[in-house]
Amino acid sequence: MTTTADTRTTPYLDLFARRGERSGEAESVRTRRREAIERFEAAGFPGRGNEEWRQTNIAPLLRAAVTEASSRAIEGQQAKRFLYPGCDRLVFVNGRFAPECSSAPEEVNAASLADLPAAGRVADVVAEHLGATVDGRASCSADAGVHPFAALNTALFDDGAVVEIPDGAVVERPIQVLWLSSPVEESGSVDRVEFSFPRLLVVAGENSQASIIETFASTGTGTAGYFVCPAGEFICRPGAVLHHTRLQADGKDAFHLGFQHAHLERSALFDSSSLAFGGGLVRNDAVALLDGEGSHCTLDGLYVVAGSQFVDNHMRVEHRQPHTTSHQLYKGVLDDRARSVFNGRIYVHKAAQKTDAKQTNRNLLLSKAALANSNPQLEIFADDVRCTHGSTIGRLDEDALFYLRARGLPRNEAYGMLVYAFARELVEKASFEPLRLRASLNGGPGGGGSR
């Protein structure tokens, strides 16, 4: 496909050309980067005709003048407020490793992608896996197509984290990966947007067990916009148990277009929870590939948005082998003019007999102007399967609200209580720091509304 040059891709293509080959990078990774930029260049940014992006309006991002986020040192204090106690941590600022804020976990092999040892376990893992699932094995259903932002990340990530959990290791302490954006606070130049491409590779060895917490946040307080475009790959080897929490609390004007891919081998378990509160234009594509018999994934999520926030969760769960199970529960709370998309695709391959797939999306609209879209898509090519899906879009129960008020609870408090009750099971699942999350529910977007 040849088209006239799309100038909006120029800053990204230029950056790729300017960087050249990175010394010390494995040949396989170089190749994947090259292929990725070619795919991105060929496909360009998705337009309205692209079914996968039909409901996601990325025009504001494409209009912005973009530039690579510069390296920035931050004070420990700025990271501290986002760190959870009792975790080992890897902290990144504008996509680059900040060793002074980090404490490397002991039982695992972890490293900064920009500073890999020349040889050894971590180097091997990166050479084998980095970019292999996102851009290679992932496109196993014929029409999955190119994910332009995942391709961009592979081509352009400057740094990131690799975490390898050795076979049989049971890692007690959660590993928190904090992705901080530190935008330049300039007044009057909201259209200048800095981008970064955080990259995460987690390889959970056979029969290992670990818990990863990703947090996306901003040191900024003002209106400075930024564009964070993360990609995460989670490889679960046979029998691995990997828990994953993804808390997205970006600044309210941020663009957040993320991609995560889980690859599950025999009897592996991947349990992922996404909590999305921040950002102005947010999209998160989550793919799980159940590629080993008896593997199970849980993909849960909660989004709480207000103002003019837009959040899009695009799910794709592929059952490739027999006896695989998947559970998805996504709940949304929308206030003001906020909008959401939930696109849940379940694809059951012919070989995947005895698949058990369940998908639920529930939305709570707190205002008349809020809008939730829910699109389940089941594609089933096996005949002995159980697949259920359901979606609801509702408003706050006025009877319940009146009941609580008649017992003396002020309207705002009653309101917050009902909203919290709706979201509760997902908040409590992310069992660390529930209070912080509760605060962001009650005091933040969606909470304490006055309607």
Partner: protein, 251 residues
């Protein structure tokens, strides 16, 4: 304490209350009886401040204050309590958590010290015992999956914990077996005192054997068509409402 004068109310263009007059003094128990659809629950909901019902004429006063100027929660803070005919299930909100929030919201609004967890728990246990509510119900979400009787008893528990000045009980007796009915009545009687008043809405004389009212009113077609002493309830039980059809308010 409560003065309802010439109250007219409608819902969705339909006039339901058509000139209700009711005066309740501190220390009194009033029973309101009437056939299905006569407007009993409408009266109760209007008192509690439900916005679906539009008051088109008349007035509502609690201790001289205009109830219509007050939000539902403000009415509760002023001491009004409504035991719902159909208590609402609230999934995800724990029963005792809800009750504590309600008690403390009321105390806060009155400028009183809020109860801490220990003091509240003690109060709750004591009142749960009084109205025979199983402690297991306190840990469950509000009314969710409760049996009909459990819901009604939960209403009475809330009343016992909140200690209102005026309690309106909307068919709290329906769906209760005789033992549960006695428990509910005992709960009400334990709270009876000279500062407190009750409006008991019921279809049956049965409850009034245990909660003996000072006054009985017959509500028919949105009007109180007759008022009398506790003997009136027996008369209704024997003769039904037939004799009151469309009759004037003066009896």
């Amino acid at each position: 304490m409560l003065r309802v004068s010439d109250l007219h109310a409608r819902v969705e263009e339909q006039e339901i209350l058509r000139g209700v007059n009711l005066e309740v003094k501190a220390g009194e128990v009033h029973a309101v009886m009437g056939p299905n659809g006569s407007g009993k629950s409408t009266l109760a909901q209007v008192l509690a401040g439900r916005e679906d019902y539009e008051v088109t004429a008349g007035s509502l006063e609690l201790d001289g204050e205009d109830l219509q100027e007050m939000a539902p929660e403000e009415r509760a803070h002023a001491g009004l309590f409504l035991a719902f005919q159909y208590p609402v299930e609230i999934p995800g909100v724990g029963n005792s958590y809800f009750l504590k929030a309600a008690v403390n919201a009321t105390r806060k609004a009155r400028g009183e010290q809020e109860l801490d967890a220990m003091d509240f728990l003690q109060l709750l246990r004591e009142r749960a015992k009084l109205v025979d509510v199983d402690e297991a119900l306190l840990r469950r979400p509000v009314n969710e999956g409760f049996s009909g009787g459990e819901k009604k008893r939960n209403e009475i528990l809330q009343m016992a914990v909140l200690e209102p000045r005026l309690a309106v009980l909307d068919e709290t007796d329906s769906g209760l077996d005789i033992d549960a009915l006695k428990t509910v009545a005992a709960g009400v009687n334990a709270l009876r005192n000279e500062d407190r008043a009750f409006v008991v809405i019921t279809h049956y004389q049965r409850l009034l054997n245990y909660i003996v009212p000072d006054h009985v009113h017959v509500l028919l077609d949105g009007r109180i068509v007759r008022s009398g002493g506790s003997g009136l309830a027996h008369e209704l039980e024997a003769k039904g409402y037939a004799g009151f059809n469309g009759g004037p308010a003066a009896a």
